[in-house]
Symmetry: C2
């Protein structure tokens, strides 16, 4: 904890200060926009951007992660509290804070139980399909705010402001960095400054609203923002708590997935070490802190963390500075925030989620592994058809489904001897000689509940194809583990082969696997022997057969 | 389909006839008892024992599976329809038939989509913990019927009949087979005949009720049973259908799990082949048939199928005969069924589920693999605390959890050369020599989304421990597959190592893995080479280093 502070070097300071300022400027429009996505007053997004990153800096293990509101988690928040409270209402604010507490408590518990491996429940194609689907849902949800009304019958001043902001942001996204670079800035600095476009567009739009008095002409604005820091209020019914339990668990899971995926991407760039159990604790504490400050569920965001990284952040001090700057903004006069036009915020949301619409993963998977591509497509359609919460469940089921499906098609090779050598190879790939009475199979997978029935079936298939076999040798070079289910299956195979008069032998069992097997009764009841090498098994059994004849 | 009939040999007939008669005698009390567990009139259990096995004989692939009511599936049926209809009511009967349709349609769909690998979603310890927990719930649910009232204030005639039946059944279970064997019967025949004890006890108890007129003294009996075969009635509301959807999916899943586990045990004893996709279709069709005949969800039962097997069943003809005998029993006068005492049926249920209380799996897992033992215990407690439906979900989550947890601790070995040879071995287990600039790691697992982050982390740890390494060689002998997630991770590792000036090389990549990799861009961008053997990689890189120095 706070290792980064104890060993803080002065050389890291300029980068941290610069990144802190840039991220704060990025967080103001983003936080307010994502609060709108969550169905909350925009100021809640600022509340959620102060305490959580400070607390994360205490417990988390990533140097450059920026914790705060994030589009997909906000969408899930809206899905959870939508059925219980009107968007923007006081109750919605209270429920959102409760939801952060549920998610945070769950994450803390998982961290204390050291369940960091939970981050591995989503395959990358599933994660990508989920993200793209959720991004489309988020963008679609902002269309009405962008036009001030239905896009078919737009409110003209709102639509002009919204579309104008959208065009400005899209142009900034595609050209601003290049322009700044051409104007003489270093490429990296130009990149980072171009990320401030949303803040500039929001300020310009707010100025326009003030100058033209657009608020009175029907352009929706955020309205008065309370000065100062928020108060805690969790006085809702037990029924509300119960209703938030399941969404809170799902949100906690997604918070962890999104944050880990962002943090890992950045940690790898600098060869830094990430500790998943500490991430669970850091994110859990950050969400509990969000509850205390009237915020809503927060997570690490790849887009914001990447800016933090690129802007030179060396340690969590950058996030601490960002948080302090935001707190400062809240205690200063906040009157100008009241005039911030919602169509412009909608435009910032749409442009932000456009950046998450990547199809590279789908393309690569399509070329490399059709099953993974199918998982992408089904997750994507699942999110669109069933919503983002059900989409998480669909994603886990598909990740596990592809895993078990692959496991259920294990590779097993019939081995033969390369003449004149001690080497045994797959007879399908090499000119190797076999013996009718001794069938040698190499199992190319760890044995566990997901593949053991298929392995047993394939072994039986091979025995049917080699009816003369009196001995079966399993070569275990590729088997690094055997779970309890597989242990039972081996014992049952052994019993079945014994009644059929076929010997079962093992060869080349790895050290750790053998250590485990010794703790079971299998070696005692084995209807055959355990050989050090396949060649020794083959020699011994052939000799024995010869003697019998 | 019907292969067994086309190739039917006369020699198989005596066994099939004998088994058909025995299983029919077993099914009458069992079917009625499990209908009570499901909260249905006992006769529904007979209905569910006629059409389903006939239809399964058409489509299924197991030769000896006996499809019909089963305790755990009946408990799940009760859990699903309990909140919607009073036990034993007409609505309950209709909803149970609907539930069979939902489960059956789901199974048929999975069969058509060839999702037979779904049977591999439960590890054996989880399955065992689930079964034991559900058995206790079932036994507990019968205590009141056994005593005719609360066990603290029992209804004396009912309690005497119930406890008397229980004692008779327990004694028969433990001693009858031995007695019959001592009386001169063959051991196998004695075993099979002892399984008819429930039928004998039920007949005796019914005779006792008739003789002593116990029905008028308050002993609960099944009451009048309609003669003839049932009629179909599915006229319920859309809301009912929606409420049955999720339980129906879970029941379909458990139907498949239970049936496959029973069928596999028996198929292996005779070296017969089981086709999981045909099992899905057979079980799906059987459940749809159960709906048509006023039954409820059915599955293959290990206890009944084992009797079928032991009684000499050679083909599904045995099940066909059983079903015909049961149908005959229903069109004959059924008046005697009306006097069947419920305390005796409760006793048959309790004794039947006692047979499922096996702790061997837990004991073996405890000695062999503590994580699997923990999964057993948590599933068991989950079923008791949350009920049998939530227990299924807990079971899947734990099976997958142990899998991903294990995957997140992959084994990676640092390799060194055994001096004077071409062999490279784990430096922790062998006296092998390494070189400071070339780090050689062997990855002992298939690379997939569940372990790839851990593998990357371990690689980074090793790089930190070998700061002088300019080349990293990954030896892929144990890697039989690389999924899309792992492909991306390798590409990212490659990019990161490139910026750090470290070469990434692969060695001993298996044929199928290499075929796959060629379809990706990894070989083109690899910051190093792919070597045929570790020795070649080591020689080449050391030589290159030497030249550089």
């Amino acid at each position: 904890m706070l290792d980064w502070l104890k060993g803080y070097r002065r050389a890291a300071l300029p980068g941290d200060v610069g990144a802190g300022i840039v991220v704060a400027m990025m967080m103001i429009p983003q936080g307010m926009a994502y609060a709108l996505v969550a169905g909350l007053p925009p100021v809640a997004g600022l509340y959620a951007s102060i305490l959580p990153p400070l607390v994360y800096a205490l417990f988390g293990s990533s140097m450059t992660q920026s914790v705060g509101p994030m589009a997909i988690v906000s969408l899930m928040t809206a899905a959870a509290i939508g059925p219980l409270a009107a968007p923007g209402s006081g109750l919605a604010t209270v429920l959102a804070a409760q939801l952060a507490l549920v998610a945070g408590a769950m994450l803390l518990l998982c961290g204390l139980l050291r369940l960091g491996f939970l981050a591995n429940f989503f395959s990358r194609p599933v994660m990508s399909g989920f993200t793209v689907g959720a991004s489309l849902l988020i963008a679609w949800g902002q269309v009405k705010a962008l036009f001030g009304a239905s896009p078919l019958h737009p409110h003209l001043p709102s639509a002009l402001l919204g579309i104008g902001s959208l065009v400005a942001l899209v142009l900034a996204r595609s050209h601003l960095s290049k322009l700044l670079h051409r104007a003489g800035l270093r490429k990296n600095l130009a990149d980072v400054l171009s990320k401030l476009a949303p803040m500039v567009v929001v300020l310009a739009a707010t100025a326009l609203v003030a100058a033209l008095d657009l608020g009175t002409q029907g352009v929706a604005v955020t309205g008065p923002v309370p000065t100062g820091l928020p108060r805690l209020n969790l006085a809702t019914s037990g029924e509300h708590w119960r209703a938030l339990l399941q969404p809170g668990l799902l949100i906690g899971f997604v918070v962890f997935l999104m944050s880990m995926s962002a943090a890992q991407t950045l940690a790898q760039k600098r060869g830094e070490k990430l500790v998943s159990n500490r991430e669970l604790v850091g994110l859990g504490a950050a969400n509990v802190a969000s509850m205390f400050s009237g915020g809503f569920p927060v997570t690490g965001s790849l887009s914001r963390s990447a800016v933090n990284f690129a802007a030179g952040a060396n340690t969590p001090l950058a996030s601490v500075l960002s948080a302090l700057l935001l707190a400062l903004a809240l205690v200063l006069p906040t009157g100008w925030l009241a005039l911030l036009p919602l169509p412009t915020l909608a435009a910032t949301i749409i442009v932000a989620v456009l950046g998450m619409l990547e199809l590279d993963t789908l393309k690569t998977a399509w070329r490399y592994d059709r099953a993974d591509a199918l998982a992408w497509i089904v997750t994507f359609l699942g999110v669109l058809a069933l919503g983002v919460e059900a989409g998480v469940v669909v994603g886990v089921v598909l990740s596990m489904g592809t895993l078990i499906w692959r496991a259920s098609r294990p590779h097993i090779a019939v081995l033969g001897r390369i003449p004149g050598t001690e080497h045994f190879r797959n007879v399908d790939r090499y000119a190797a000689t076999t013996c009718a009475t001794v069938l040698i199979l190499r199992i190319d997978a760890n044995l566990f509940f997901g593949n053991v029935e298929s392995v047993t079936e394939k072994i039986e298939d091979e025995l049917r194809e080699h009816p003369g076999a009196r001995h079966l040798v399993l070569t275990m070079t590729a088997v690094s583990s055997i779970d309890t289910t597989a242990l039972f299956a081996l014992a049952e195979l052994n019993a079945s082969l014994r009644t059929r008069g076929i010997g079962l032998h093992l060869a080349e069992v790895k050290g750790p696997v053998m250590d485990r097997l010794r703790a079971s009764s299998l070696p005692d009841v084995l209807n055959g022997r355990i050989f050090l090498s396949t060649a020794m098994a083959s020699d011994h059994l052939n000799e024995q057969q010869g003697n019998h004849r």
